[in-house]
Every structure is written in structure tokens, then in C-alpha cells.
Symmetry: C2
Subunit: 224 residues, 2 copies
Amino acid sequence: MKTSSTEENYIKAIYKLEEGQVKNAVTTNDIAARLSMQPATVTDMIKKLAEKKLITYKKYYGVSLTEKGKTIALDIIRKHRLWEVFLVKKLKFKWDEVHDIAEQLEHINSDELIQKLDDFLENPKFDPHGDAIPDRDGKIKTIKSIPLSIASKKLTYIFSGVSNHETRFLQHLTNLNLSLGNTIDVDSINEYDGSLKIKINKSHNEFLSEQVASCILVHPKNDK
Amino acid sequence: MKTSSTEENYIKAIYKLEEGQVKNAVTTNDIAARLSMQPATVTDMIKKLAEKKLITYKKYYGVSLTEKGKTIALDIIRKHRLWEVFLVKKLKFKWDEVHDIAEQLEHINSDELIQKLDDFLENPKFDPHGDAIPDRDGKIKTIKSIPLSIASKKLTYIFSGVSNHETRFLQHLTNLNLSLGNTIDVDSINEYDGSLKIKINKSHNEFLSEQVASCILVHPKNDK
DNA sequence: TTAATTATTTAGATTAGTCTAAAAATTTGT
DNA sequence: ACAAATTTTTAGACTAATCTAAATAATTAA
């Protein structure tokens, strides 16, 4: 069964919302907000997706992806992240420039293409923002990382990902000279506002607000 | 002004039809046949394109692209051909496998992307089928090639392009071990059916029907 | 040159995806 | 527990892209 780009965008949105929630159902308003659509529009589309058995839907309650829906979501995410790797590694885009283009490329329909792209890129496991790339069968590594905002003083971490993909945020990290894989030593944590003083890659000191630290994902060094 | 993928496909079709015709106008039925659409559908769309000043349109007569329309057509063709180079050179697709994927990729919208892709591919001038790639300003090389079917006996030619892009035709050439850039020596031409005996790359002899020879574009050796 | 054929356009309908406004269901706050 | 607020759905409408059938214009052929 074919899925339109529009349907794919809804499926991806539902997947992302499920990921970030404890609850078992995603609401109409959540989806509407994420996709900048009217709730009425979302109701129509979720009826259609339920019809196709890509989600389960209970009126006035919410939706959740079926296995079939999850498979499609992971396939789109796989394509998005592989294209991001291509854009950054091969075409030399900056990590904050690739999102919108990958949003278009992720809907290109050709299994053969994605397979060959994956091989060409040498089967990368992570995209330029540190997000894991699902394999061909939809298997995805769950990385046990934590926000830097709950890190412990005097420990050393590895910068492994971000939980905010906005251009402005990514540019801020670039300006701090902070890149994926860098070590982060937490020198001190301000008790009042949660801000941190850190040392990046054993070389330069920086100051991070709690707001920024909370979007930086790390794992303890020598543990991964 | 934005153009939808659908509009782009019409513009490209009109461009291709203009290219292959002496007449100054392309008819509704031509476009309908090329795009496998109903003439009534085409009439609606050409009204829309005329409204946008991408074509000139005279009722019951036909259409032709404006400068604006031509610019868009050449931009799509540029994108299509650059993606084909990418697919063949980098992803190792065969030359007969890339058309449908490039048809999708050509509608991806990002000037920055195409510029970087062009550079990544080292600014190729021809696609895998020997068609010239328009430059960023829409300038396109017109190559003075002829169909092999009107070639002269005992002369040596270079295989420079095809006028038929069907998978089955391209596979036939592959089976003959004939690739772009190969030399073709015309040994003899059959007077009755126009078939040719040729030697490819000074190494192996092949037989070509007139039908096949007419879709093979060549230029005389040491002239180009 | 006029009747027959062919090509094109118009008219009316359909589907996908979107909207606004109003109705209905659920949740919240006192 | 019930009124108020919020969320969700329904109803009706719009646009883009498509179709079929019918009407009209242009071309061809006798």
C-alpha cells in the first residue's frame, strides 16, 4: 500500500510524539500543534490512517501507531537521517542547514536508492546530530544518554546528541565550538539557575545556561 | 513564484516537445499523450500556466514556453541530469535504472543543494546518457551529433548519446557491450533494411538494426 | 465547399488535503 | 456534582489535479 508524503508526515509526527511521552495515546491537538494544522484537519487524516490500519484510533481519546505504522515511521526516519549524513559528509552542509532539505528527500520512494545510499555512506549508525539511524529492518539503537543539565559535577562526559534540532540552537553550539564526540568536563554547577561551567575537549572553558544544557545529550566517558 | 511538481512536469513536457519539433506551437494532444493524461486535463493546466506567464497560449492553436517558462524547464532538466550522474557515478546504478528515481529527485527544491551537488560531482557537463547538463544560468551545450543510421560506411565515430531513454533499449546497448565514448567503425550498411555491421572500440563486431541505429547518436571521430 | 472527422474546450464530478464555524464530548474547578 | 472550560468531532466549503461526457472549433476529404 502506498503512502502519500502527507500521510508520511502524520505518521512521523505521531511516532515522534509517542517517543516523547509516557502516555499510551497521542492526542489530536498534539498532532495539530506539531504539524501546524487545525485539529479538524487532523481528525480527518487520522480517520484515514486508521482505515489503513496504520494507527489505532479511539474517538475523543487519541491514536497510537500499529506495528505497520511503526515500520513506516522508522523507514521515513531512516531515510531522513541517511540523507542528512549525505548532506553533511558528502555535500559539506553544516549540521544546522540540513533539516529542511532532508524533510523533502525523506519522501523519495525507492528502496534500491536507500540501500545504495546507505552503502555509499558506509552504513553510518548515527546522523550528524547524533540520532541513531534505524537499519533496513527498522531496528534502532536506543542510546542511554542523559541531558547535560542533570550531569554530575567533576565528571567527564561525551557529547552524543541534541534534543533540540532548531537551527538557532545548533548554531549556538557551533559558536561554542562544541561538536559531537567532544568531551565535556563539568567544572561547576550553579545552584541558583542550574547553569554550568564546562571544559570542552580538555581545551577551552565555556558557560552554559540550564536551558542550553538541557538540550545537550551526553553519556559518561568510558561507558557506552 | 513557486511551481508545484505537477506544473513542473507539464513545463518539462512542453520543453521536450518544443525541442523535437519544427512547429512553433505544442498542441494539447501532444502534451496529453506525453504525460498520459486526458486532453481536458491538459487544457485546465495550460490555462493555469498561461495565467502565470510561463507559457503563451492561443485557444485551439497551442502553447509555447515563455522565457520564464524555459528557465524553469532548464532548471528541472539540470536537476534531473545532475541527479542521474550522482546515481550512476556515486551510487553505482546502471544507466538504465536511474530515470524514475531522477524524476522524483528533480522536484526537490533547494538551490543550495543543487549547487553543492554540482560541485561534489565536479561539475559534469553530460549525464550518463550523453545529454548535456544546463549550467546554473540555463546555458546548455548543443552537441552536433547525428543518428548512427545516417552515418557513412568506413568512417569512425564516437558514441555520444541516445535519443531513446527506455530501459529496454539501454539494456540492449549494454548487452552489445556498447558504452558512451566508445568508438564505432561502420563496416557496412545493408541497402535493403538499413542495418549496420559495426566494430566497437576496435575490438568486437556487432550487428545493429536500423531501428536501433537510429536511436544511437554519434559524432565523427576527431571532430568535437 | 460542405460533410465527416479530429482536436480542443467546456461543464460537471471526484479525491486529497486543507480550512472555519458549530456541535458534541470530555475534563476541570469550585 | 455540575457548570465552565477545553478538546475533539462534524458539517460544510475551498483548491489543486484529475476524470468523463458533451459541445464547439478546426481540419480533412470527397
